[in-house]
């Protein structure tokens, strides 16, 4: 509960309409895109500008009230569930594009801006912002920055962190911090910009971002390769990279995913294949043609059963639809869909997929795997039912082993979703005791009273996935 006094001070800063603590508002800010997590905040605030964010944080700092800042709440790591109550700050009113600088090829935007709206806007100006999280129609730029979102183009173009070059953020005590700028080079001190990208709202509240834009590719071509042998598909991934070709997109779907997608989208996918690779290259037409030809011969060399290059944009779209349908198709199988995010070096893709299948069978749970093969980022996705406690426990045990396997293969527990609440118990596996110590020190420096998104990233040394109901 927050005191009447604190509430009045918040209302004085934000206006009474933008501080809410009615049951309806609290319930609708008690969750995000992560299954099985829910926890009520004590109040929800909707700031309009940086000054209000700063003043709000001053009030919260004075009263030692925790804050969770959020965009559209599409994240899958429990990152925006207010597990310790306090105030949820919704950034939706701060949703403007402040500037697109055509001389510097940068854009300056507010955090609540919808990602797809932003991408559409820059594309209309003949420019390109590559990060393309699957949630972009819903998600906000601020949320993308907080979680360092990736997407289908990460392999060639990098992820959100590669495009954030300047930030304005409000610290836990209400001070306003500015980092970077419209600069392509800047080594003045520690790189606080990069530190804040992916910090999951635990270090500061981002209030403005300067993003790098690039010229769009002139041409693209799409192809699909099908394999009866998973290792053939995996070797193809390594061989393509080894041949110094970096495709714009290089995606994999395993057999369970192929079957589900085909049941759903009726695309006539080969149900007997162990894996499908979906490959897209963009750039200058001649270079693209040459790359696609070489990729095709690599696929055949690795005994691909069938290789199809899309002749028309419609055909290309059909191929991409297969990949994009994966989530939708899986979501319809069972009531609860848990989409995870284990990542390994690209040379270990086959081993990891086999490990996932072995672990799923061992725990008797359904897990289908698809993902960004080109950057080693896999999405093992469990379809289950939250009401079946026994099955959910088996799923949790399976994922724990999957993360263990990823680490063992030189990988990580998350490639683009973030640690949040869900993977906090596993963070130490990846970064080690010294890493945890450093991270705690950084957290302490930014947020000495642990007010910003408490309970995330740093777990109380448990290794189990937690299901919390503060209802």
């Amino acid at each position: 509960m927050i005191s009447e006094q604190a509430k009045q001070e918040l209302a004085a800063v934000l206006g009474p309409d933008y501080v809410k603590d009615d049951p309806q508002t609290l319930v609708t800010h008690s969750y995000d895109g992560t299954p099985m997590l829910q926890s009520l905040p004590d109040a929800v605030v909707y700031p309009e500008n940086t000054e209000q964010v700063s003043q709000t944080l001053k009030v919260l700092h004075k009263h030692r009230i925790p804050l969770v800042s959020r965009g559209s709440g599409t994240n899958l790591c429990g990152g925006t569930v207010p597990v310790q109550g306090g105030v949820v700050m919704v950034m939706h009113r701060m949703n403007r594009i402040l500037e697109v600088d055509l001389e510097n090829l940068t854009a300056t935007v507010q955090p609540g801006l919808n990602t797809k709206q932003f991408i559409t806007h820059v594309e209309e100006l003949g420019l390109f912002y590559p990060p393309d999280p699957s949630s972009m129609a819903v998600s906000t730029i601020g949320g993308n920055i907080a979680e360092c979102s990736g997407g289908l183009r990460g392999l060639k173009y990098g992820t959100t962190k590669d495009y954030v070059i300047g930030l304005e953020a409000v610290l836990a005590n209400g001070d306003i911090l500015r980092t970077g700028g419209k600069l392509m080079k800047d080594v003045a001190g520690y790189d606080l910009t990069k530190l804040l990208v992916g910090s999951e709202g635990t270090l500061a509240v981002i209030t403005e971002a300067t993003l790098k834009l690039i010229p769009p590719p002139k041409f693209k071509k799409t192809m699909i390769a099908m394999y009866k042998d998973l290792h053939g598909a995996a070797r193809t991934v390594s061989k393509i990279i080894e041949a110094r070709i970096i495709p714009a997109t290089l995606e994999i779907m395993d057999n369970p995913t192929i079957r589900v997608v085909d049941d759903f989208a009726k695309l006539g996918l080969p149900r007997d294949m162990e894996a499908i690779l979906l490959i897209e290259q963009d750039g200058d037409p001649a270079a693209v043609e040459r790359d696609i030809e070489r990729i095709e011969s690599i696929c055949r060399g690795e005994s691909a059963d069938r290789v199809e290059v899309a002749a028309t944009p419609e055909e290309a779209l059909k191929l991409m639809t297969a990949r994009r349908s994966a989530f939708t198709a899986l979501a319809r199988l069972r009531p609860t869909t848990i989409l995870e995010d284990a990542t390994v070096p690209r040379s270990k893709i086959a081993e990891m997929v086999l490990e996932i299948n072995r672990i799923a069978a061992k725990h008797n749970v359904q897990i289908a795997t698809f993902g960004h093969a080109g950057d080693g980022n896999l999405h093992p996705t469990a379809t289950t039912d939250a009401r079946d406690q026994d099955e959910v426990h088996r799923v949790e045990a399976a994922f724990e082993e999957i993360f263990e396997a990823a680490i063992r293969l030189g990988g990580t527990i998350t490639g683009e979703h973030g640690v949040g609440l869900v993977k906090a118990p596993f963070l130490e596996w990846k970064v080690g005791a010294a890493g945890m110590e450093m991270m705690r020190g950084i957290k302490q420096a930014f947020d000495p009273h642990n007010l910003l998104n408490p309970g995330k990233m740093f777990a109380k040394a448990t290794r189990k996935r937690v299901v919390i109901d503060r209802g």
């Binding site: 009615d22 049951p23 309806q24 508002t25 319930v27 609708t28 800010h29 008690s30 969750y31 995000d32 895109g33 992560t34 299954p35 009520l40 559209s72 709440g73 599409t74 919704v90 939706h92 009113r93 949703n95 919808n114 797809k116 949630s135 129609a137 819903v138 998600s139 989530f327 939708t328 979501a331 319809r332 009531p335 609860t336 869909t337 039912d385 939250a386 009401r387 209802g471």
Partner: protein, 433 residues
């Protein structure tokens, strides 16, 4: 009410929502407000919280359920295929059993309309007669001049002004109940679902629907014992009344032995195709409801898919645009057929408006019960419509048609722009040899 909600809500559907948020950008009320509770994900969270006992179903809950347009744009956007339309109807059904909060005029309208008028075709006729009398005599001028209408809320005054001329005769009285196909053997036998409001306020559209179907090679029958589809009842939480109306309609069309049941109102059609869901708890009617539901099809879809091809031409060059009926698009899954037909009009130019697939704010009687939100949505809609510079806004549903008329009256230029039903537009431009 919590207990009733628990009883009426489909808990499986509530569990199926995985809170991914994909529905948010599709939702018009979320778009207007940016408030999570005003989104499908938010509303489902509220329903689930009530069912789970975390939230008391208070006035705010009731208001939020009524704030939804039920346009169902969230359903095609949902990866998990959550049947949101059924959930919101179940929630409203539960709310309706308990509410004591309706404003006096909503209560009055509901009681007379839902129970006293819509279910009775003869009373609809009478309403048409009364309305015609009112519109045809000096009474209308008197009410408008005298200021009596000022006793009513402003949006009702506006509605009164744009209401088209009513007809005391419905389509059957005008042209009879049975019509033979033109140009040779019939392609199929179609039963026309004439609707209740449709047949009083848009009798001409029903007449034109029959004629277009005839030209395209269909035998058409209009079973005279059919009645209101029950959509307004179902969407407003009066499910029992809706089911009774459904049974009567099924009986009427079964007796007529038709191959298809054609509708020209997206709102009605969406409930008609879901009669099997509506009656799913009624084993006696399961088979008959399925028989009915699989035959329901929008008139445009029927003309494009099954009819003999028709040619259209416009005498003078015209630009026209199209406002999708949400229920036609999101529930009956028809958005291509009306466009295909419109694009066949030689000499006229079809010009797609931005966000044609977004609700216009009419949503059954939403524009009467929620005038503020409806007004905001309509304002955006008219900006997009104006931007096309079209002379005609075509629609496939009477509610949308009235709303577009209202939009032109409020935000447009009634001298330059007109709202017309697709069927009327096409019939007028039918190329006759």
């Amino acid at each position: 009410m919590a207990a009733t909600l628990k009883l009426k809500l489909d808990y499986d559907q509530l569990t199926n929502c995985m809170r991914c948020g994909f529905c948010l950008p599709a939702c018009p009320t979320f778009r207007e407000t940016g408030v999570e509770a005003e989104s499908p994900r938010g509303r489902i969270a509220l329903m689930k919280a009530v069912a789970d006992g975390i939230l008391k179903p208070d006035q705010a809950f009731e208001d939020q359920m009524n704030h939804c347009l039920a346009c169902r744009a969230c359903e095609p956007a949902c990866p998990a295929d959550v049947k949101y339309g059924q959930l919101i109807e179940q929630a409203r059904d539960a709310v309706e059993d308990h509410t004591e909060s309706h404003r006096w005029w909503i209560r009055a309208i509901r009681k007379t309309a839902f129970k006293g008028v819509f279910p009775h075709q003869s009373r609809m006729r009478l309403l048409g007669k009364a309305l015609k009398l009112y519109q045809g005599t000096r009474l209308k001028q008197w009410t408008q001049r005298s200021g009596v209408m000022k006793l009513f809320p402003e949006h009702l005054q506006q509605m009164e002004r744009i209401l088209p001329d009513a007809s005391e005769d419905g389509v059957v009285a005008r042209i009879g109940a049975e019509h033979k196909a033109k140009g040779g053997a019939a392609v199929a036998k179609v039963g026309l679902f004439r609707g209740c409001i449709m047949d009083v306020l848009f009798t001409e559209t029903n007449v034109n629907t029959v004629k277009l179907l005839g030209e395209a090679g269909f035998d058409v029958v209009i079973p005279d014992v059919q009645n209101c589809c029950g959509a307004l009842h179902a969407h407003s939480g009066e499910a029992d009344d809706a089911r009774e109306l459904a049974r009567r309609n099924i009986r009427a069309f079964r007796a007529a032995g038709v191959d298809y049941i054609a509708t020209n109102a997206g709102g009605c059609g969406a409930l008609l195709v879901e009669y099997d869901h509506l009656l799913q708890g009624d084993p006696e009617w399961r088979e008959a409801a399925a028989w009915f539901a699989e035959r329901v099809v929008d008139v445009s879809e029927l003309l494009v898919r099954k009819g003999r091809p028709l040619a259209f031409e416009s005498k003078e060059p015209a630009r026209f645009t199209y406002q999708d009926s949400c229920h036609l698009r999101n529930v009956m899954k028809s958005s291509g057929a009306p466009r295909t037909l419109m694009n066949r009009v030689a000499g006229a130019e079809f010009c797609e408006m931005k966000e044609a697939d977004r609700c216009c704010g009419s949503a059954g009687i939403y524009n009467v019960t929620q005038p503020e939100m409806s007004g905001r949505i309509l304002e955006h809609k008219m900006e997009h419509a104006e931007a096309t510079k079209a002379e005609y806004i075509l629609t496939s549903n009477p509610g949308c048609l009235l709303q577009m008329k209202l939009g032109i009256e409020k935000h447009g230029d009634p001298g330059r722009m007109a709202a017309v039903h697709v069927v009327d537009f096409l019939y007028e431009r039918l190329k006759r040899d």
